[in-house]
C-alpha cells in the first residue's frame, strides 16, 4: 500500500478541481471498510498460505494423495543435475526449470530446496505452525468481513444498484473490453461491465469457494459437512481448487492495481478511502473527448 501511495505522487498533480468534474460520494463506509479488511486479510493469507503449501508442494486430484499411484497434477521440487541443484515446476506433466524462484532459491551461495521462495512467505523461514496460526486468524477476519459486507450491501442496495449486471451491461461488454485494452476509462458513479463481473466474481464466486474448499480440508468439518468433499471431488481436489482460486485472486489483484494506476490512482484511492470520487464532465463533453482520443 505504501508503494501505491508512492506511485501516486509520481503521477504528478491530481485532478484539477473543477465544477465540471463533480466530486460525488461513490463508496459507502461499508464498502470502504470491508475493502481494506479484505486487502489486509488476503495479503497475510496469501503469504502464510504459500508457506503452508511449501510443507507439501504438490497438488493432487481425488480423495487422497497418490504415493503408490500417480494423481499429482502440480509439483514444485528440486533435483540434482550435472549442473548442480535445480528447481523445477511441473504442471500436468510439463516440466519447467524455475531455479531461483520455485523449487530452489535463496541468497547466492545459500540456496535451499523450498517451494515458494523466502520473499513470498510468512515467516520467511520454514515454519508451518506459525503460518497456520496467521492463516486461520485472517480466515476469521476474511469470512466475517464477507458476511458483514453481504448484509450491509443487501441493505444499502450496493449489490442491486452497483454490482448486478443489467442487459445494457452485457450489450456494452465488447465496447468495455476495447476501452480497457486501450486503457481508456470513463469516470462515472457506476461500475463498468468488466468491473461488475470482476468484483462480483471475486465476492460471489472466488471468496466463497475459497472458504468452502478451506472448510472441506478440515477433518473436523468433514464430520459436520461430509457431503462437501463428495461435491468437490475429494479432499485433495478441494486443496487443488483452494490453490487455483488463490492463483485467480492474485491475477485479480494484479489487474486491479494496474487498472487503478491507469485510471488515475489519486482519484481511485480517494474514493476507496474517503468515498468521494471525481467524475467525468457531463455526457456531451465525454463524447467529444472520446472522438478526439
Amino acid at each position: 500500500m505504501e508503494s501505491v501511495a508512492r506511485s501516486q505522487s509520481d503521477t504528478g498533480p491530481g485532478v484539477p478541481a473543477s465544477t465540471e468534474r463533480p466530486l460525488i460520494y461513490r463508496q459507502s463506509r461499508w464498502t470502504r471498510l470491508t475493502h481494506w479488511l479484505w486487502a489486509i486479510s488476503l495479503f497475510f493469507m496469501l503469504l502464510s498460505g504459500l508457506q503452508i503449501f511449501n510443507a507439501r508442494p504438490q497438488l493432487y486430484i481425488g480423495k487422497q494423495s497418490g504415493f503408490g499411484y500417480d494423481n499429482t497434477i502440480f509439483e514444485i521440487g528440486a533435483e540434482n543435475t550435472s549442473a548442480g541443484p535445480r528447481g523445477y515446476t511441473a504442471i500436468f506433466g510439463h516440466r519447467f526449470d524455475t531455479t531461483g524462484v520455485l523449487g530452489w532459491s535463496g541468497p547466492p551461495g545459500n540456496e535451499t530446496a523450498r517451494g515458494f521462495p523466502s520473499w513470498a512467505t510468512i515467516p520467511s523461514y520454514y515454519d508451518l505452525g506459525t503460518a497456520r496460526v496467521i492463516h486461520f486468524f485472517f480466515a476469521w477476519i476474511l469470512t466475517t468481513t464477507l458476511i458483514v459486507w453481504l448484509i450491509a450491501s443487501l441493505i444499502n442496495g450496493h449489490i442491486r444498484r452497483d454490482l448486478a449486471p443489467r442487459i445494457d451491461d452485457i450489450k456494452r461488454l465488447p465496447q468495455d473490453v476495447a476501452n480497457h485494452i486501450r486503457l481508456k476509462f470513463h469516470h462515472t458513479r457506476e461500475y463498468n461491465t468488466l468491473q461488475k463481473l470482476a468484483y462480483g466474481g471475486v465476492l460471489f464466486v472466488l471468496l466463497p469457494l475459497m472458504i468452502i474448499t478451506g472448510l472441506a480440508m478440515s477433518p473436523s468439518m468433514n464430520s459436520v459437512l461430509p457431503f462437501l468433499n463428495d461435491l468437490l471431488g475429494g479432499r485433495q481436489t478441494a486443496r487443488t481448487i483452494h490453490f487455483t482460486v488463490m492463483v485467480l485472486l492474485v491475477g485479480f489483484f494484479i489487474i486491479h492495481i494496474l487498472m487503478i494506476l491507469a485510471a488515475g490512482p489519486i482519484n481511485e484511492l480517494r474514493s476507496i478511502i474517503t468515498g468521494w470520487y471525481r467524475t467525468d464532465p457531463p455526457a456531451h463533453d465525454d463524447k467529444t473527448a472520446e472522438r478526439s482520443a
Binding site: R56, Q64, G68, D127, R132, L261, A263
Partner: protein, 269 residues
C-alpha cells in the same frame, strides 16, 4: 517516449506506468520477506494475540461437530496404497528395540493418572477386547491424505475399565520414540486429547492396519486414531496413557511435542 493519454486527467508515460506497477508489486512482496519474523516466535505478544483465533476455531468446531459426529468412512476400493508413514518411522531407542526384538511380548500399555483402577494391558489383552475396524482418511498437517483400514480397541472401553476420576480432563499419550534431542535430554513424543475426543466412537488404539498387524513404521505395537483431527494428534509407539487435569507442567506446556513447536492444540483443521 510514447505517451498514453489517460482521459485527459493525467499524462502518464508507459514506462512510468510499468515502473509504478512493478514497484507496487515488489513492495508488497518484499514485506512478506522477513518483516514479521521476529514477532512470531512462541510466547511473543503478537503470536499470542493471533493464537486467540485457535481458541475460536476450536470452540466453533466443538459446537458444530459435537461429541459423536463421525468422520467420513470409505470403502475397500479406496485403499489404493500402503499407509504413508511420517515422522519417526523406526525408533532408535534401546527399550523400543528390545521390545520389538521380542515381538512386543514384554510390552505393556500402562493406564494411569486420574483413574480409580490403573491398568497394565498386554498386547494380547488388548486384542482380546471388542474391536472396531474403520476405513478412514489420514490427513497430515503438511497437506497430504492417505486412506487406510484401521483396527483397534475403542479408547472409551479402556477408560471405562480404568474408571476415570471426575477431575480428569485430558488423556495424555506417552510414546516410546525419541522425536527430538534437547540440552535437557531426549524428548519422547507425547500428545493430549480431551475426553470428548477420547470417548468418540472412532477413537481407537489401533494394532491393525489394512488387515495386518500394525507395522513398525506406522507405530507398532499400538497407536491412537483420532479421526476428526490431523495426523500429529495421533501418537504412535504408545507405552502409557495418563489421565490428567492439565498439561501446563509437561514439556513446553502446550499439550504435545508438535504443539510445543507451534502447532495448534486442536488439530481439527
Amino acid at each position: 517516449m510514447a505517451k498514453l493519454e489517460i482521459n485527459s486527467n493525467f499524462q502518464i508515460s508507459r514506462r512510468k506506468f510499468l515502473t509504478g506497477a512493478s514497484v507496487g508489486a515488489s513492495g508488497i512482496m518484499l514485506s512478506g520477506c522477513d518483516a514479521f519474523d521476529s514477532h512470531l516466535s512462541i510466547g511473543s505478544g503478537l503470536r499470542s494475540f493471533l493464537e486467540n483465533a485457535n481458541g475460536l476455531t476450536y470452540r466453533a468446531q466443538r459446537f458444530l461437530a459435537g461429541r459423536d459426529r463421525l468422520a467420513p468412512e470409505f470403502s475397500e476400493a479406496d485403499i489404493r496404497q500402503p499407509q504413508r508413514p511420517n515422522g519417526v518411522t523406526s525408533p532408535d531407542d534401546d527399550d523400543y528395540k528390545a521390545l520389538l526384538a521380542n515381538n512386543f511380548a514384554d510390552w505393556r500399555l500402562e493406564v494411569s493418572g486420574l483413574v480409580e483402577k490403573p491398568l497394565s494391558l498386554s498386547h494380547e489383552q488388548l486384542t482380546n477386547m471388542p474391536s472396531r475396524t474403520q476405513i478412514t482418511r489420514h490427513d497430515c498437517v503438511e497437506g497430504w491424505s492417505c486412506i487406510a483400514k484401521w483396527t483397534g480397541t475403542p479408547l472409551s472401553l479402556i477408560l471405562d475399565q480404568a474408571v476415570v476420576k471426575p477431575q480428569a480432563r485430558y488423556v495424555m499419550f506417552h510414546c516410546l520414540d525419541t522425536i527430538d534431542r534437547s540440552l535437557s535430554g531426549d524428548i519422547k513424543y507425547y500428545g493430549t486429547i480431551d475426553l470428548i475426543d477420547a470417548r468418540h466412537p472412532q477413537t481407537i488404539l489401533a494394532y491393525g492396519l489394512n488387515g495386518k498387524p500394525l507395522p513398525v513404521e506406522n507405530g507398532a505395537p499400538l497407536r491412537v486414531r483420532v479421526e476428526r483431527q490431523l495426523g500429529y494428534k495421533m501418537p504412535k509407539y504408545l507405552s502409557k496413557i495418563e489421565l490428567v487435569d492439565g498439561f501446563a507442567d509437561v514439556g513446553g506446556g502446550r499439550g504435545g511435542y508438535w504443539e510445543d513447536n507451534g502447532y495448534d492444540w486442536y488439530g481439527g483443521i
